[in-house]
Symmetry: none
Subunit: 110 residues, 2 copies
């Protein structure tokens, strides 16, 4: 099933490598210090590269339940992810907002 893929598959985006099975995301081989949720969210985004994922879809995938109305956790986590990714990979803009819909992960930063 899809779950296993999520746990064993690895993902790349430039110098970034995501290893969900090792609870790690590496840039040039050095681990970023991401929290569990941050890594889950990044993994979910990266596993659907170039696809616009709706907020509901993303939330459901990471939190395992539909978001409550006016829950802003997703935004906060996207923000924190962007901040950490931006520190490590200033040249790439990996996460793109699609207002009114959701977010999209672009491995080449475009």
């Amino acid at each position: 099933m899809y779950e296993d893929k999520g746990r064993t598959q690895r993902y790349r985006a430039g110098r970034l490598e995501i290893r969900p099975d090792e609870h790690a995301a590496l840039v040039d081989g050095r681990p970023l210090s991401l929290t569990l949720r941050e890594l889950q969210l990044l993994t979910e985004l990266a596993s659907h590269a170039e696809r616009i994922m709706s907020r509901e879809e993303l939330y459901e995938a990471v939190w395992g339940r539909p978001p409550r109305r006016s829950d802003r956790s997703l935004d906060v986590y996207v923000s924190r992810l962007r901040s950490k990714l931006g520190d490590a990979l200033p040249e790439l803009t990996l996460i793109h907002t699609h207002t009114g819909i959701g977010y999209r992960f672009s491995p080449d930063g475009a």
Copy 2:
């Protein structure tokens, strides 16, 4: 699982050398006085350098059984190891905590 390797392989981290086969860990050739558990834990960590090892994984490898709920032995041993390593190698931070996940050994202290 890694038993044979764990017994014969040696590991280095700066001035630290770990010799599981001799039940010894040396800094500049001088042995640290580690207890058995401390050395086992250090060896287990060092044999998976740069990898985040989950608490369960570590515990299972060193104690040979899964940890009981609220068993804090691992934390205490990590603390004692850090203390002894810190005395001998003040310039390195070898063991890193990944909260909610486990620990990571970094030979270059980063």
